[in-house]
Symmetry: C2
Subunit: 265 residues, 2 copies
Amino acid sequence: MTEVTGRTKVWAILADPIHHVKTPQALNAHMRERGVDGVLIPAHVGADDLAGLVSGLKAMRNLGGFIVTVPHKTAMVDLCDEVSEPARAIGAVNTVRRNADGRLVGEMLDGAGFVAGLRQGGIEPNGKSVYLAGAGGAANAIAFALAEAGVSSLIIANRTRSKGEDLKQRLEQRYPSVPVEIGTPDPSGHDIVVNATSLGLREGDPLPLDASRLSPNQVVAEIIMQPETTALLAAAKERGCRTHPGRPMLSCQLDLMADFMGMHP
Amino acid sequence: MTEVTGRTKVWAILADPIHHVKTPQALNAHMRERGVDGVLIPAHVGADDLAGLVSGLKAMRNLGGFIVTVPHKTAMVDLCDEVSEPARAIGAVNTVRRNADGRLVGEMLDGAGFVAGLRQGGIEPNGKSVYLAGAGGAANAIAFALAEAGVSSLIIANRTRSKGEDLKQRLEQRYPSVPVEIGTPDPSGHDIVVNATSLGLREGDPLPLDASRLSPNQVVAEIIMQPETTALLAAAKERGCRTHPGRPMLSCQLDLMADFMGMHP
């Protein structure tokens, strides 16, 4: 990376644990490629200390912003001075811009990253019916981004039905023109099938949906990056579906984060 | 510098203004040479916001510590959990270590850097009589470090006599065995003559002392780095004195700072 001087602008990622994060490497490379005189550092902070560190960082005038990850995404909503409407409805913030006046503006870019990744892969969700497995943090972000992208309908299938119902209600409030329904494990009949659960991360995980009901006209998309070909994607390929891996969600999101946090030369 | 990852430890320098600081370049090079996985970043913070940022940084578990410079050295004393006795007597802290439990330990290394620089230049202050021009921040730090090094006597010459008297009192309290006197502009009769004022920084500055009274058996030392040969050092050379420039004070202090803040591999 370029040398850090007194003129270098600073960004951070707040997490606990911190050792495994890959964002510093990715966004420092991003800045190097674009000629930004900046550095993104890891900031290891526990849940009890998050508010204190964030309040302190507001005062750091050469701080451009920070990324927020596990376990801080939910708590960060109330620590921002301003939060986008979708991020507030989702109840999570993962990217914060520090304005010149010290105000912290929060946004949730997981879902926008997923949609940008789909589009980069040549899959346009606008006008399509989408089956979404999951109603947790990632599923929330993706559901709102898909509604924003103008899907024709959204089917939410979650093991715990009440969480799915809750997500449905918040979606309908913000996007009244998008039909949302609660689904079963059967994904048949929908254009795009998305796994937004963590099932597939560990070997031996059950499938997040009934893959025997998939048919060749469907697209099956993952949010899991590792393994690259999850059991679901393997089953979908076998059934003749077009598949979309988890990686583009992250790579596209990194660009969105850099833009949002003002990583410009 | 080496790539920043989730495992990289972080240090900072707190200052206002920040653009001109050179510590990031110096200490990042220091860490690179020693194989430390760390990065030192600039943190631009105003006087009103110092307490808030410092309190926030206490919570950052991968922060090793920070350097404090203009205008924060005095205020930092009360923001540390623990301050060395000399730093408290000097009334300034310029280096802070963050212990693993979050406690901030403050030290003032300007004077120790000056003494280490003298020794690096082959000049041992122990047992010598020293004439010190100035009683400001730098002079305070240097006076305490010279007393600690065991000078045989210390003569303080300052334009504002009361500031010199005040420094004398604090020195005598901590080092009762070191004779301290208030001097005149005449530096004659002392082994080592030190300029610890800012006179010489700007072209046309008056000399900090009466150079016509210097004699070849004296050592004349500067704290001003730029110009490398101040008017005082030029006059001292002309009078046949051995001279010692301002640069070693900084370079030696950087090593002391790195050690104090735990910049180890």
